[in-house]
Symmetry: C2
Subunit: 155 residues, 2 copies
DNA sequence: GGCAGCTTGTTGTGTGTGAAATGAAAGGTG
DNA sequence: CACCTTTCATTTCACACACAACAAGCTGCC
């Protein structure tokens, strides 16, 4: 019994680990629906998805709302622009701001992906069964509880 | 009403997005406990945590059990070896295998981190309240349901 | 025994990432 | 109005990642 751990730590039962694995699988399961069809990454999907709710939005706005740092948003926007899904225009009132807008091609993409996203979410809900709403509430509660800890909003 | 989305897609309410944000926050909240103190990353933490349950384990074993691909395990192991937390020895029976073992220094680290991990998990459980076990069951159920989809076990 | 084929681990390669630095524009103060 | 500070976006740099190629070792079949 030389190196026998006194009280073994079970990584498989560790909630942070489980959540990372789950999150990775859920994202992978959905991203394969748009990665092949449209050649966009998760970051790009998030930007486009946010643009579907509010057209003409600055990089800063997306950075604040979509849990991505500024360089990530900036690069995702550039890739989306190069792919023809988004246009970048400088705001005339405040010329520091870069307003992002969906092109018709971008709108077509989000129009096609929205039902796919809803279907995918419905599949997840089916697995969760009647506990669906309770589960979502717990996710939100945990997320909110940790929000301030990760509160590094020094820009 | 030119670009008004017909039925807006709410990224904030999208479960895959919520889970990614949650997972990121939970991991960040815990990793800050060992990042500063020991200078190790999440990958390295996982390897060490797994070694705490089963000493002397091959890279392949960790790859299979810890949701990391082979290069990631290999590089994490090399960094841990350089930092003096693990040793790598070639298995004499099968000289392809590299057995990883914790050094005393590595055992000290995991001994110090285990109670911190348990405390952190207890905090999460406190937020979840009586729904704790139900929540974990749902996490496991979802993860299991998606396991086969991500089943790219072509090594 | 020798060669084909598999397994294991490491190393390359192109890409993405995050932190800090930079550039560019607006606001505030004397 | 000049100067300084703040804000926004991009770029730089060092590093991590994923996928693929690779070298080394084992196995089995003839």
């Amino acid at each position: 019994m030389k190196g026998a751990p006194v009280s073994a730590f079970k990584l498989d039962d560790f909630l942070p680990y489980q959540l990372t694995v789950l999150s990775s699988r859920v994202s992978a399961g959905f991203s394969k629906h748009y990665r092949n069809a449209y050649g966009i990454s998760v970051s790009e999907w998030r930007v486009v998805a946010h643009l579907s709710q509010a057209d003409s939005v600055s990089v800063r706005e997306i950075h604040a709302r979509v849990d991505m740092d500024k360089p990530k948003v900036s690069r995702a926007a550039s890739r989306l622009e190069a792919a023809g899904y988004v246009t970048k225009t400088i705001n005339p009132q405040d010329r520091r701001l870069v307003e992002l807008s969906l092109t018709p091609k971008g709108r077509d993409m989000i129009a096609a992906l929205t039902p796919i996203a809803r279907d995918y979410e419905a599949q997840l809900s089916a697995v969760l069964g009647e506990a669906d709403q309770a589960f979502r509430d717990r996710v939100a509660a945990l997320s909110a509880a940790l929000e301030d800890e990760t509160d590094l909003d020094r820009d």
